[in-house]
């Protein structure tokens, strides 16, 4: 029963990881920018939500604020950090260091504003009820699952059926051809950043309402979405989703064998193994070497 319980909490974390990682994968897939600061969008959304709820806003309004913050941050990074860097150097490492600098700024800003301790909003969502003897399910589990299914479905439809979605995929394939067809690569990349950052919001809001947030959540989420994308195959949305789920479940299941301290490390052992033995991930195309 313990195993089933751990599996369930693993799935709950996993689907939220999957959404966040899908945001990262969407941005990387369309723009070829390794958005290391993706975790900061998550942290801003989560803390924005906590701030609004504490200020007495209603939940939907607070979630809206969280979305605005995350999307605003994504657009800001695209326009004022990545684009200027890409104008004069193509090096991914320059991008990485700059993004990491921004993560540090966001993290310390949150520390100054909210303190180093965990913050959370109290909610009835974590109230667990027994479905089977010894097996507890909280309402948060169903919400996380439903949100993930709806958002992935919508995203899939958007990318497959709408003109803008197809243009986004074309941007990943061949930006020059896209320009030849008269579409704006800049506007599409901004759209990718907005959408990708918005995908971090459900995880952030539910995280704030269940486990709580700490300032280091920015780097943790960044690592998780990186790991999930690599495990799934970089740039592949489906891969990122599966990777996130795998990581969440692995983190949770490892607790049944080892101490809780190992739960984060477990994900990275999986990641390390993938890089050594199957660097293109589960769904990825062969690496261009």
């Amino acid at each position: 029963m313990l195993l089933a319980q751990l599996l369930i909490s693993g799935i709950q974390t996993g689907v939220l990881y999957a959404l966040t990682a899908a945001g990262f994968a969407l941005i990387f897939g369309a723009t070829r920018i390794f958005h290391f600061a993706h975790g900061a969008a998550y942290a801003l959304a989560g803390y924005g939500f906590v701030f609004a709820v504490r200020a007495g806003w209603s939940w939907p309004l607070a979630a809206l604020l969280a979305t605005v913050l995350a999307v605003g941050f994504g657009l800001f990074m695209d326009a004022f950090v990545y684009r200027p860097i890409q104008r004069h150097t193509g090096s991914f490492f320059t991008v990485f260091v700059a993004a990491f600098g921004v993560v540090i700024v966001v993290q310390s800003g949150i520390e100054i504003g909210f303190g180093r301790a965990f913050v959370a909003v109290t909610s009835p969502l974590t109230h667990a009820s027994a479905v089977l003897p010894g097996l507890y399910l909280a309402r948060a589990f169903w919400i996380a699952l439903a949100v993930a299914v709806v958002m992935f479905g919508a995203l899939g439809l958007f990318l497959a059926r709408t003109r803008t979605g197809i243009a986004l995929r074309a941007l990943a394939e061949n930006p020059d051809l896209l320009r030849a067809y008269g579409l704006s690569a800049r506007r599409l990349s901004a759209l990718a950043f907005a959408l990708g950052s918005a995908l971090a919001v459900p995880g952030a809001v539910l995280g704030a309402a269940t486990t709580g947030l700490s300032p280091s959540v920015a780097s943790h989420v960044m690592l998780v979405s990186l790991a999930a994308s690599v495990v799934g195959g970089i740039g592949s949305l489906r891969g990122a989703a599966v990777g996130g789920l795998v990581l969440g479940v692995a983190e949770s299941l490892v607790v049944s064998v080892l101490d809780t301290q190992w739960s984060e490390a477990a994900g990275f052992v999986v990641l390390f193994a993938f890089i050594l033995f199957r660097p293109r991930g589960i769904f990825g195309a062969a690496l261009a070497r």
């Binding site: 991914f92 260091v97 800003g109 790991a227 301290q261 490390a265 990275f268």
Partner: protein, 292 residues
């Protein structure tokens, strides 16, 4: 005040050596490791164990630290041979996270979260180095020795092959360079020197715990190299001085509540990293790197 400055100077020498060693990987080899604090940590824990159980002799401690880190550097060389670019950064991130957990959990060796305390004052061949001046001289000697080694190696055939590999791996391979061997050696060299710095660090602090070997530390060292300028001898030193002195200088700045000073320092150095990458990506003392 003198004691404070001496302490700062010792740390600057140790971190200078550490940053210079990372420069071998990042600046010359094009191996963008975000796990350098891991090898600094291996060296520090090994050095601390030697000092606690055998002798606090500086030579033995730093050589022991260097050897342990050098051997374990295979853990970093392996992914470096498999993948490049973003993938390698992610792999080294993974290594860093796993190693941090191991540092916390392997209590018999590392002392866990509490760390290893009571490391005896350093000696050199039987002479006590308890005086901060004497230990500073040792740290400076190690820094100069390390820099001289790197300069000789990087100017020679090894360094030139390494830079060729950084600029174009396939071209280097076409010229008959043994890419796998070169990368492994570069990683081993950088990590060994990081281990030596770790051994010195253990003696300098007389106390080691996991706080000094986390991702934050890896990024700080990386920032030292990048801010100063990669692929140059002076760059890492400039970066080290700047990033070590910045917190010290901020302590004297009025108007910041003492409880927030850590966060404000972090914010300033994060901002400096981002702005520098946007406006001067080659660093303060460097040339442009890794244009693709």
């Amino acid at each position: 005040m003198t004691a404070y400055l001496l302490n700062l100077a010792q740390l600057a020498a140790i971190f200078g050596l550490l940053a210079a060693s990372l420069n071998v990987l990042v600046g010359y080899g094009g191996i963008f490791s975000v796990a350098h604090a891991v090898f600094f940590g291996f060296g520090a824990y090994a050095g601390a164990q030697i000092a606690l159980n055998v002798t606090p002799d500086v030579l033995l401690v730093s050589i022991g630290g260097g050897l342990v880190a050098g051997v374990l550097s295979l853990a970093l060389a392996l992914p470096a041979l498999r993948v490049r670019g973003e993938y390698f950064v992610v792999a080294s991130l993974g290594l860093q996270m796993v190693a941090t957990t191991i540092f916390i959990e392997a209590e018999p060796v590392t002392g866990g979260l509490g760390g290893l305390v009571g490391i005896p004052p350093p000696q050199l061949l039987g002479f006590s180095l308890a005086s901060p001046w004497a230990f500073l001289a040792v740290c400076l000697a190690a820094l100069l020795g390390g820099l001289a080694t790197m300069r000789v190696l990087m100017r020679g055939s090894f360094g030139r092959s390494l830079m060729a590999l950084r600029d174009s791996e396939s071209a280097a391979e076409a010229f008959g360079k043994n890419v796998a061997l070169l990368k492994t050696l570069a990683v081993a060299l950088g990590c060994t020197i990081a281990g030596v710095a770790g051994g010195l660090f253990a003696l300098q602090m007389a106390f080691v715990n996991v706080e000094s070997f986390t991702l934050d530390q890896s990024v700080l060292v990386l920032a030292m190299v990048i801010v100063g300028g990669t692929g140059t001898l002076a760059g890492p030193l400039v970066g080290t001085l700047l990033l070590l002195l910045l917190p010290a200088a901020l302590t004297f700045l009025p108007g910041i509540p003492p409880t927030e000073i850590g966060a404000v320092q972090q914010a300033i150095y994060g901002l400096a990293m981002a702005l520098l990458m946007i406006f001067r990506p080659a660093g303060l003392a460097g040339r442009a790197l890794g244009k693709r």
